[in-house]
Every structure is written in C-alpha cells, then in structure tokens.
C-alpha cells in the first residue's frame, strides 16, 4: 500500500468534485474538475487505487502543484 498525492497542475477554482472518499478509481479517471482560464480542467487519477482523502471542496481556490486528493494504491 502506498499513498499517492494527486496534485493540480494549474491554479484555478474547484468546479466539480467527481469522486468520493472510499471510491475505487482507475488511472486517468477524473477526480476533480477545476475552472481555470474559463475552461474546465480535469484533475485525473495518476494511478489506480482508492480515494482516501479529498482535500478540496466546490469553489475552493487551488494553487498550482497543490495536493487536492490522496489515493492509496493496492
């Protein structure tokens, strides 16, 4: 088991949270959608695993490189 931090590559605002704590996800599944430069920018799972923490909520501002969720890989 390893904990993998999911980071945002851009600064923006949380538009949608598309996953839940405990959800099982595959690599490239969209976890969170940010609004940045008037675009919907997905933050995708970097690996398969279980979402153990979601660190942002709708409308939260997000900085570049900020950890927005934690995935535990099996």
């Amino acid at each position: 088991m390893a904990r993998k931090e999911v980071k945002s590559e851009v600064a923006g605002t949380v538009w949608l949270v598309e996953t839940k704590t405990g959800a099982s996800v595959q690599e490239d599944d969209t976890l969170i959608v940010l609004e940045s430069m008037k675009m919907e920018i997905p933050v995708d799972a970097p690996c398969a695993g279980t979402v153990v923490e979601i660190l942002v909520a709708k409308d939260d501002p997000v900085e570049e490189d900020q950890t927005v969720a934690i995935i535990e890989t099996s």
């Binding site: 851009v10 600064a11 940045s36 430069m37 008037k38 675009m39 919907e40 920018i41 997905p42 570049e64």
Partner: protein, 515 residues
C-alpha cells in the same frame, strides 16, 4: 631494430589508462548504480566504433632512472565514434578519478573535444559526471596563489551551439562548470536518482542555508520542471537511447540539411477520430498529444521538455520521413495559454528549429498569454515578447493549423504573419483579440448595468457573438485561407513537408542559438 618496443610501451600505457581510478573508487561508483565512463561510451556508440584521442594522457610518476612506476589517467575521456552509423564526438568525465574534477582532466582535452566537433562539423555528446572547474580550495596551497577564473574552451562551447548539435547528459552529481556544460546544449537529460545538478553542492550550501541532500538541492524533479534540463529518464540506457533518437532528426552540422528518415507511414492516412477530437463545448479540454501522434508518421513524435512550461508542447517528428519541429498547446494546462515558462521553452525550441533547418508545424490552441497576478509577477510579457522575436527571426518553412483558439498577441504568434506560410483552420477554430467569455462583461458593461435581467442579456449577447465568430465568416473575408476536414490534416501536412524540403537552406542562422 624496429619500433616494436615503443608500441609495447604505448599498449602498456593505454592499459594503465583503462584502469580508470583506484579499484575501490571504481567499485564504489558501480555500487552507486552508475556505469563507468568507458562503459557509458561503449553503451552510447555503435559497437567498436570509439576512436579515443589522448588515450594515454594523465599524470605519470617516474623513478630516479626515468622508469614509469605509476600513472593516473586523465579524468576526461574523449574521441570520435558512431551513433547509428554517423560520426560524433563523445566526451566523458571519469568520476572515479578525483571525483571528475576538472583540475585532473588536463583541460586542453576539453577544449580539443569542443574544437574537434566544431571544425570537423560533428555533433558532440557530453557525458558529464564531475565537480566544478576549479577543483577544491586545496589548490590554493598547492599553487601558492589564486587566479582570475576563466572557463576553458567556452568560446568553442558557445560557437558549437550555432554549428553542431550538442547533447549534455548529466550522469552524476554535476556542479559548477559541469552544470554549465550540461545546459549549454540543444538537448539535456538527467537520470532519475543518480543525477543531480547544482551551482554548488550540499557542503557549500549547508554553510549558507543549512543541511540539504543532493537530491533535494538539485534532483531531476527540480531541474526538469524549471527547464534547466530538458528531460529526465529512468536509466542511463534510456538516456543513450534518447540521445541517439534526438540526433537522428538533426543534421551533423548547420552546413547540412536534416536527413530524411525511413518512409514508414501512408501520407494519405486519415484518422477518423480527428473529426471528434475537439469537443464542441468550448469549455471542455482534449488531449493534444493524441492529435499530434495521429498526424505525424507513426511513432515518430519525440517530445522535448514535457515537465517544463507544460502549456506548450514541443518535440521533433517526421512527416513522410522528413524531420520537422512540432509546436502545440496543451489545453489541460491553463487552456494552453503561454506562461513565462512556456514562452521560454518555445523560444528555445523555435531557435533549435531555425538553427538546424527544421520546418515547423504549429498545432495552435492558444487563448493568449496567461493572465493574472502570478503571471504578471513572472514577467510573462517579456518572455513572450522574446518568443515572438524568435518566431519572426526564424527563417524556416512554417505551417500552422488552427485547432481551436488563437487569441491576442500570443495567439497572433502562431506564425510570422508577414510571410507566405501554410495555414489551415479546423472547423473548431475560434480566433480574435479576446475570447468572448473573457471580454463580454467589460465590453457590454453599460448595457448589462442598465438591464433588468443582466444574466439573460449576457446569454443573448453571447449567443449573438458566437454566431459571428464562426470560422466560415472569417474564411469569407479570406482572413483564414482554408478550413479543412480535421481528417485531412495528415495528408496536408505531408504535402507541406514535401514542399518545404527543397526550401530548406544550409548555413549558420542569422541569430545565434543561446542556451
């Protein structure tokens, strides 16, 4: 009488040089997961092709009768060899001798390697694994004096940037002059975990700001994200593979043209998926790399600098076998806006294409320079203006495909508009001075403030303007020359590459390349 005994001595001395550093140091080097410099050279070059120059240079000790009793090889190994049948200069530091420090290298060898590359018009690959140029401060007591620093051979190092392809591989802890040699190149690599790069290493830094590890101070994670180094790889073997691949797209010098590679793909191949590659909803993003891989010769896209300036995608590829430079935007990163980092990356890339006569294919989705406080603090407009200058100074055939957005000054930078270059627009093209979504409230402020239902009015104005923004209206006025079916992109780009091939010109670029 013959000279056999002299040849025996020559072979004996070569044997001594091949031992490299002391056994314990060679063992320690291998235990750290690193190849020795001679193993690196063998792995990089075609089998048996290395011809060493200065093979017996080093520091010898003689007894009172003049007999050779000990020998320490120079820690700088260089010569000529072949990569995929093409002759190169290769120059490597031997970390097992004095930690690769330049004061044990016989610095004339470094100068000679650079000069050989320049004057024989051969690409040079630097295998860098050494500390700085001056050695330790102990040399003060040895020499009994200090000196005014100078970087040996820097005239050739700089001249080579405008003359021959230069690859800098940082293959260990690389500091000071070694770091400068790594980045003064057209393409540079670090190997994850075994390469670190810094102006000065942890012991020096610790005196200023406290303890720090080599990896924390200058690991590949730092330097491939700040753009000092182009790419990171998992192993030395991968570094050598990527070196060979990078060089395969380039001529041996600016006095030649990039060689056509094998023709492996159908120029008329039409990828059906391209018709739906760009979402009709303008707020949705898509994968630009899928489009790139679809339109270039199969498996020919070689991306450069993926971890830095990520809103721009840069790389080399082939179209009907012809090497080309591919420039694109990644809508996943700030919608593809040019940041300061992306601008810097694009400037270097356009300069690379211009130096080595590579036609440029630009797949454009550029909403403009990144806006906002952080972008202003980063001086984006200065970096962006340099990009525009590079683009207008470039003298290579150019083809732009407007995939989606081209807005503002950065969007206008999709090509040098004053030249007759190729330009196509996908039906998804969306161009102008400012995206509707960004400029609506400001432009219609008075009407919106006077309205009883500003939201409804906003939607109505947006719908009205969206109709006007159709690329068909732009094409009616010949402001964009052609709207194409996205599935025809590859056939048209292959046509461009074939038309561009005879237009390429040899010789030094009017603007010298800078790192």
């Amino acid at each position: 009488m013959s000279w056999e005994s002299a040849i025996e001595e020559l072979r004996h001395r070569e044997g001594l040089a091949h031992r490299m550093g002391e056994e314990v140091k060679v063992a320690r080097h291998r235990d750290a997961g690193k190849l020795t410099v001679r193993e690196r050279i063998d792995a990089l070059l075609d089998d048996g092709s290395f011809h060493e120059v200065g093979a017996i240079s080093g520091k010898a000790e003689y007894d009172k009768d003049g007999n050779l009793v000990d020998f320490r090889a120079s820690n700088f190994i260089m010569g000529r060899g072949k990569i995929d049948g093409r002759t190169m200069v290769v120059a490597g530091d031997d970390f097992t001798v004095r930690g690769g420090a330049a004061d044990a290298s016989i610095h004339e060898k470094q100068v000679y390697a650079e000069q050989m590359a320049n004057q024989f018009r051969l690409p040079i690959v630097r295998l860098i694994d050494g500390t700085g140029g001056g050695g330790s401060v102990k040399s003060l007591e040895i020499d009994g004096r200090t000196y005014v620093p100078a970087n040996p051979g820097w005239d050739w190092v700089v001249e080579n940037l405008s003359t021959v392809p230069v690859v800098g591989l940082a293959l260990g802890s690389v500091a000071g002059l070694g770091a400068a040699r790594a980045v003064t190149s057209h393409y540079s690599l670090m190997v994850k975990g075994i390469s670190q790069m810094f102006v000065a290493g942890p012991p020096v830094v610790a005196r200023v700001s406290g303890p720090i590890t080599k990896e924390e101070l200058g690991g590949s994670e730092i330097h491939t994200r700040n753009g000092a180094i182009d790419d990171e790889v998992e192993s030395e073997a991968e570094a050598f593979e990527r070196t060979a691949r990078f060089l395969s797209y380039l001529p041996s010098s600016v006095h030649e043209l990039p060689p056509r590679g094998p023709v492996t793909d159908d120029i008329n191949r039409r990828d059906e998926s391209l018709i739906s590659a760009v979402p009709t909803n303008k707020r949705k993003v898509y994968k630009m790399r899928k489009i790139i891989n679809s339109v270039v010769d199969q498996d020919s896209f070689f991306e450069i600098g993926r971890n830095n300036g990520k809103s721009a995608i840069t790389g080399l590829a082939r179209l009907d076998g012809w090497p080309v430079a591919i420039l694109a935007n990644d809508p996943y990163i700030y919608g593809g806006s040019w940041t300061a980092d992306a601008s810097h990356k694009v400037t270097r890339f356009v300069d690379l294409a211009n130096t080595f006569h590579l036609p440029v294919v630009h797949l454009v989705d550029n909403p403009g320079f990144l806006i906002g406080l952080e972008s202003e603090k980063a001086g984006t407009i200065r970096h962006g203006a340099r990009t525009l200058a590079a683009l207008y100074q470039a003298d290579v055939p150019w083809c732009s495909v407007l995939i989606r957005k081209a807005f503002g000054v950065a969007g206008a930078g999709h090509m040098n508009h004053s030249k007759l270059f190729y330009r196509y627009a996908w039906p998804s093209a969306d161009t102008g001075s400012l995206p509707i979504a960004g400029g609506l409230e400001a432009a219609y402020r008075a009407e919106l403030e006077a309205s009883d239902d500003p939201e409804a009015l906003l939607a109505e104005i947006e719908e009205r303007l969206t109709r006007v923004c159709s690329p068909f209206r732009t094409a009616e006025a010949f402001r964009v020359e052609e709207i194409i079916d996205p599935r025809d992109t590859r056939p048209l780009l292959c046509e461009f590459a074939n038309l561009a091939a005879p237009l390429r010109k040899t010789g030094p670029a009017s603007v010298p390349y800078r790192p």
